[in-house]
């Protein structure tokens, strides 16, 4: 097996709205930056991958609209209807298989352009069994949060603390849209969305675009940039059934993380990995995911988050501010996690730089009502 590396990265900072450019223009900016970063021309690229969902774009067969802004005209190009981390996995496979040496992946969000996002998410529910109840899609998160808190004995305060912590951290991240100060009490007082889930515990959406250039070891050696190696990558889907899924624990996260750690030959993540970006689309998800990936025992993640929110404490989780602080970037969520890891591992994370960051981990989740997640381990060496 060849080693595979991220050799170039470009992104637009997450923003609440982006009326200044179309999705094409926004993605083009990220692509230009990524190619400059890698020191390549798109003409050298063997294949291009976009991660996008037609209903989010408002264009069916959106695949056809992806080549221009990446410089992919007359090139192999395909779309993956999944989170960006799965796109990274596809790039990795294309290179491992020997079909490509240099692959470009892209994901973006124009969430601000979607006037009926919750309705579209409702469309992810089963038409015969679930949609007739006309529920907000966040009820799925409400059900899960309730089961998770009951089973794990984590508290609502600890979930609220994740909001406080991640918004605070986002304040140090110029690429985050929702940095700011809030308190556990304020979060707990915010309106119930689907109790026990509260409004402030749901990540607000943001716009943005990420483009990454991925290369084989051989190809990476001939490029100017400092490669960040993909040591482990894995993605898992559980059964989608709402009726009989494992409600309390995130099995997909457990298995995706286990796969990525196994591949990277990591046995003790807390000691062998320096920073973690784990999905926090809803605040309780951060706790649930931290326990699922094995960083904390069941019921212990909440204490760690509460402690970290109360003062300076070494808690290298979601240094970027996560989805709660950066914004929910739809299919681009996972690639924004990759942005944070790559910046940290390169030592380019500015005010939030973690000292001696050598290895990072990302876990993305596709959002309600899914039970699909992907995990990656990236390394500087």
């Amino acid at each position: 097996m060849t080693r595979v590396a991220i050799v170039g990265l470009g992104f637009v900072p997450a923003q609440r709205k982006t009326p200044q450019y179309s999705y094409r223009e926004m993605t083009y900016r990220a692509a230009r930056q990524a190619y400059e970063d890698a020191g390549i021309s798109p003409k050298e690229v063997d294949c291009f991958i976009t991660c996008a969902e037609d209903l989010h774009e408002g264009t069916s067969i959106f695949d056809e609209y992806t080549p221009d802004q990446l410089g992919a005209v007359h090139k192999p190009m395909h779309t993956v209807t999944h989170d960006g981390l799965v796109g990274l996995a596809c790039a990795w496979m294309a290179i491992e298989s020997g079909a490509a040496e240099l692959v470009v992946i892209e994901a973006h969000s124009k969430a601000s352009n979607i006037l009926t996002l919750d309705d579209l998410t409702t469309y992810a529910m089963d038409p015969a069994l679930t949609r007739p109840f006309s529920l907000s899609p966040h009820f799925v998160a409400g059900l899960e949060m309730n089961a998770f808190l009951t089973q794990s004995e984590n508290t609502e305060e600890a979930c609220a603390a994740a909001v406080v912590l991640n918004r605070l951290r986002a304040g140090k991240n110029p690429a985050a849209a929702y940095g700011g100060e809030t308190t556990v009490a304020q979060v707990l007082r915010s309106k119930p969305l689907s109790a026990p889930l509260k409004e402030a515990e749901k990540s607000p959406t943001a716009d943005g675009a990420v483009v990454a250039v991925v290369a084989s070891q051989e190809r990476a050696r001939r490029l100017k940039g400092r490669p960040i190696w993909i040591e482990g990558i894995s993605w898992i889907s559980d059964s989608p059934s709402l009726e009989s899924r494992e409600w309390g624990q995130a099995f997909y996260a457990q298995e995706a993380a286990a796969g990525a750690f196994r591949m990277a030959q990591i046995t003790d993540p807390l000691r062998e990995v320096d920073l973690f970006e784990v999905d926090d689309t809803y605040a309780y998800k951060e706790l649930q995911h931290l326990e699922a990936i094995g960083l904390y025992e069941r019921g212990k993640a909440g204490r760690a988050v509460l402690d970290a929110a109360q003062g300076p404490k070494d808690f290298p989780v979601n240094l970027s501010g996560g989805c709660l602080g950066r914004g929910d970037l739809l299919e681009a969520k996972g690639l924004y996690q990759i942005v944070e890891l790559v910046l940290q591992l390169r030592g380019e994370a500015g005010k939030r730089q973690r000292a001696c960051a050598r290895r990072g981990f990302a876990l993305s989740w596709r959002g309600v009502p899914t039970t699909s997640g992907a995990a990656a381990v990236l390394s500087k060496n």
Binding site: S22, Q69, G71, I114
Partner: protein, 182 residues
């Protein structure tokens, strides 16, 4: 296939409308709420603003020298920024067309729509915009149209223009010079 399976009727298979209406078949229906407000961005935003003023705007790429319409702020072939804007003519020639007797939702219509790609005068060869050509009189309007037929934009009155491609009502065949320029 078992005998039982052969005797079962499935939804979508030979059911009569009455059987559905009278509840012999369980049904459920749903109506999508998919609404968007797309950002046009710089290129298409300026292009549409031009329509409101009665102008067709294009851009020139300094790499390949193509003059392009609809405009874009990057060249998809050279992969570089574009910042040079040009005003194009409101005449052009038909590159290809079709005479369409069904609407978007597949209803038959008597007076056909004629979608066409129109290469705009002043833009590079092969650069066209998709629009509608006014149907020439007669039973067989296609007999008066050819690839290469010259056409001119017919604009809506200024007060009715709203910055949309439909600010041009349609393209009218220029009389007497159907194949001019060849």
């Amino acid at each position: 296939m078992t005998e039982v399976a052969q005797n079962v009727k499935w939804i979508g298979e030979n059911w009569k409308k009455e059987e559905v209406l009278h509840g012999k078949v369980f049904t459920f229906s749903d109506r999508p709420q998919a609404r968007y407000a797309w950002d046009t961005g710089e290129a298409i935003g300026r292009y549409l603003a031009g329509f409101k003023q009665g102008k067709i705007l294009g851009v020139r790429c300094r790499g390949c020298q193509r003059i392009m319409v609809p405009p874009r702020i990057f060249c998809e072939l050279c992969f570089r920024d574009i910042s040079e804007w040009v005003t194009l003519k409101e005449t052009g020639r038909i590159r290809t067309f079709s005479v369409c007797y069904v609407t978007w939702d597949m209803k038959r219509i008597r007076k056909p729509q004629i979608p066409a790609v129109i290469e705009i005068d002043g833009a590079s060869e092969g650069m066209g915009i998709l629009h509608l050509v006014e149907a020439p009189r007669g039973d067989k309007p296609w007999e008066r149209l050819r690839a290469g037929t010259r056409v001119q934009a017919v604009w809506k009155p200024k007060g009715l223009r709203r910055g949309a491609v439909t600010d041009i009502r349609f393209w009218r065949v220029l009389t007497g010079n159907a194949n001019a320029g060849h």
